[in-house]
Amino acid sequence: MTRSLEEPGQNSPVPQARVLLPPSRRSHIALGLTTAAAQGRFELQVCSSCGAVQYPPREACHRCLSVLLDWQFQDGGGELISETTLFHSHDEFFREHLPLRLGMVRLDSGPTAIVYLHGKVPPAPARVKVDARLDKAGRAVLVAFPGDDTKMADADPAGDSPLWEAGCGPHSRTVPPTGGTVGK
């Protein structure tokens, strides 16, 4: 049975704006980063056997193949070794926020991380402090802040970047559901 669609009247509801979100797909293991970020902490996996710090998140230690990896707090200090400004993106959400500045950071703890750059980070090479933030899809992203000064990250958390939330501390903020083991 069919019937023709009615013409929308004068009082038809405002067409719903499409809400674009950054890509949210992550592997199960990578969600550990989000679990910690949702509690305001930057954590990476550390090997219980040899102490090697791992990034990107993985199932086994890249140095000794141990599968006993613990999420542990990271100081985040590192060197910005290269950077780029993106003028093209494959994703619709990001296209609305171009141009977009990214960095490659060698963390003092070992791994290389691709990160967003806070606007005040000087050109590479530069000392930076990497921290984990939540993006609009509720997933952790890494952001590099200028210098060695942790206060900087706290006092001027993120400017007004649409790419990551200004802070993830529980103070006056809603902790988003992550599907992980957030909270106590």
């Binding site: 950054p22 890509p23 797909r25 992550r26 592997s27 990578a30 990034y55 990107p56 998140p57 890249h62 070794i81 290269s82 950077e83 780029t84 400004t85 993106l86 003028f87 093209h88 993106s89 494959h90 994703d91 990001f94 977009l100 990214l102 490659m104 060698r106 290389t112 991380a113 691709i114 990160v115 967003y116 590479a124 090479p125 993006d135 997933r139 992203v141």
Partner: protein, 392 residues
């Protein structure tokens, strides 16, 4: 470190280079391009389909099928099958596998095929789910794809070794000149250095002409015993030496070198030739910085001397150091994994006197290099092969 001596490939040859012409977009599946490539191999060799008993496939877009699905799809009954998901290194690695298969008697005639389609959303889909690390730790940062990854490497290389945009531009312009005579190149207009420098920015410092254009197409060749090729009256090339290496320098903070550094001495020793004997070089050129890296790491100049090397050579087919003689991926197009085969088929044509474009004068010995798979922050697969034409 001691390594066991590598066995040679004396009686095994490479023959029948096939290119299924590239198109920017296609509604066909990857299987269509594999079929066209196989048909081209049979036509070129005058073999029947049943004579093929080995297949080595590389494709990013055949999913959910792998090589085994293709055997039924295309009605191939084989006794040897391999699938090489190694992108820009697929041509070298595929050749290596096929050579040993034929040498050992596991197969008599192996078709090596790289084929990919390009539909409207193909490239984004490939980039998004390229690897677990890319999905978790690269794509969420602006989804720039390989452009962003190579922008980091290019910016670092420029800062560290004093390369200028003009140096990369010189390579791109030279390759375009080579492509203007190559009938299968998608880019048919000349490129000036000014156009290169002023092009639309993509991912600083990369601009439009630093980046390959994704497209659909296929490349293929056959591996068989020398006597068989002679019986069939085919022009063929011998394989003097080959190398491959994966995840070579994991402790480097950022990639400035690849595994060729570790194996190039063995490559040249196995081949029994010197650098001066190389008549043409096919680099994997998804971005010009990677071509320069290969020139350094294969030993044509020292690390960091790439910019000077570029300034002191022309790279055109009539020049003093012909590189990417068909125009390379930068001017022909990047048909997915076929980009890892492009240098191989072009080298085969050049050294067997069957060039489709401008022939490199007296070309006898070619070095083909492969590089692939930005799994996270660097390319993991490196390989190279030295081939000699019939008159070498």
């Amino acid at each position: 470190m001691t390594t066991s001596r590598r066995q040679g490939y004396e009686d095994i040859v490479v023959t029948v280079p096939v290119t299924v012409p590239y198109v920017r977009y296609s509604t066909h599946g990857a299987h269509w391009f594999v079929a066209r490539a196989l048909a081209g191999l049979l036509e070129g060799s005058r073999l029947s389909k049943s004579a093929l008993d080995g297949l080595c496939l590389s494709s990013f877009t055949a999913a959910p099928d792998t090589a085994v699905g293709l055997t039924q799809h295309l009605g191939l009954s084989l006794r040897w099958l391999d699938h090489i998901p190694m992108g820009g290194a697929a041509g070298i690695v595929g050749l290596r596998r096929a050579l040993r298969a034929v040498q050992s008697g596991d197969a008599a005639i192996v078709a090596c095929v790289a084929a990919d389609t390009n539909q409207s959303d193909t490239f984004r889909t490939t980039v998004r789910s390229f690897s677990q690390f890319a999905q978790d730790a690269v794509y969420p940062y602006g989804a720039g794809g390989p452009n962003a990854s190579f922008a980091f490497l290019t910016a670092y290389y420029m800062r560290t070794f004093g390369a200028r945009r003009e140096d990369f531009g010189k390579l791109c312009v030279a390759q375009r000149n080579n492509a203007l005579k190559f009938p299968l190149a998608l880019f048919k207009k000349p490129l000036t250095l000014e156009e290169y420098l002023e092009a639309r920015p993509i991912a600083d410092p990369l601009r439009l002409f630093d980046c390959v254009m994704p497209c659909a197409g296929a490349e293929a060749f056959l591996v068989m015993r020398r006597e068989r090729a002679q019986d069939l009256g085919l022009a063929f090339a011998s394989v003097l030496g080959t190398i491959e290496r994966h995840n070579s320098f994991p402790d480097d903070p950022i990639q400035t070198r690849g595994g060729w550094v570790l194996d190039r001495d063995e490559l040249f020793a196995q081949a029994g030739v010197r650098h001066a004997d190389i008549d043409l070089l096919q680099t994997y050129d998804d971005y010009p910085v990677i071509s320069v890296m290969q020139m350094e790491d294969l030993g044509f100049c020292a690390k960091g001397e790439g910019p000077d090397f570029v300034r002191s050579h022309t790279f055109t087919n009539d020049g003093d150091f012909p590189v990417n003689t068909s125009g390379g991926q930068l001017s022909v197009g990047q048909a997915g994994a076929a980009g890892g085969y492009l240098g191989m088929t072009e080298a085969l044509r050049q050294i067997t006197g069957a060039s489709l474009g401008a022939a490199v004068p007296d070309a006898r010995i070619a070095l083909v290099s492969g590089f692939g798979m930005i799994n996270y922050d660097r390319g993991l697969c490196c390989g190279a092969a030295i081939l000699a034409g019939r008159n070498a």
